[in-house]
Symmetry: C2
Subunit: 157 residues, 2 copies
């Protein structure tokens, strides 16, 4: 299961950048493609290694600049806990996201949970704090990896 049509996602990214007045250049597109193809988060240097096979001039600043661009354009997220990068899972404007990191299988799930973001906004406001960016990452075990006793399958309702 290579994921739902990477070409389509790249094209959507292209349109998003055009809309934003930014350029999804070939280099950036290649890096995004690498991120999209991976099931697990990739570090900057893992991406760099892969990039080098098609672009011999690639060095650390190459990949970090491309990633910065992709992050600013909400095409990629950085997972701080892992120093690694994953594709954005949503088409959205990204008010806020949260990440669930399974330390068994390594997968990272992106959420946009309003209960969480509302609670964060309230907690910040109550202290006069003006948030500009929220970083919310939970380490744990995903539904697949958790022992059944510990974590029943997703609750309904």
């Amino acid at each position: 299961m290579p994921g739902p049509d990477i070409a389509a996602q790249l094209d959507a990214a292209e349109r998003l950048c055009t809309k934003n007045g930014t350029q999804l250049t070939t280099l950036r597109r290649v890096v995004l493609d690498l991120v999209l193809r991976s099931t697990a988060p990739l570090t900057a240097y893992q991406l760099l290694d892969q990039l080098k096979s098609t672009r011999k001039s690639a060095v650390p600043p190459t990949i970090y600049r491309a990633l910065d661009f992709l992050i600013e354009n909400h095409l990629v997220h950085r997972i701080e806990r892992l120093n690694a990068f994953i594709p954005c899972d949503a088409d959205h404007e990204h008010a806020d996201a949260q990440f669930l990191i399974c330390h068994q299988c390594g997968t990272v799930t992106e959420l946009e949970d309003h209960g969480v973001s509302d609670a964060l906004a309230a907690a910040a406001a109550a202290r006069g704090f003006t948030p500009s960016r929220a970083m919310v990452e939970l380490d744990g075990l995903c539904a697949t990896c958790a022992p059944p006793d510990t974590a029943p399958p997703p609750a309904h309702r």
Copy 2:
């Protein structure tokens, strides 16, 4: 304002470790002291530089091991966004904490907000995810640094 009695905090830390069956050795105590004295978060290498003045043998593993110990014993927190460390602000058992990072003045405030932790627990449970550790860090402006229009002083009630 050097903070409320560092000696007392060190003694409290000592008691906590004894209770936990761990040892707050001289080295660890010195590192904790350094962390406690700072108003701003300190990086591992900033701490190392300071430590070197009294312990010539100190090298990176020295400080990282001491920090690992202090973190496991809930005496220090690591702020992932900053790769830096702050003293734990609470005596508690630390179910969960959140951090507000002011990017103007650099201060980091520790919260234990149940609205946030409940929302996180609910969001995780709804997806069958079993969290073992939550990392919640908000970048923004603290009450002191925020322009008055943008962020009114802390709400009452």
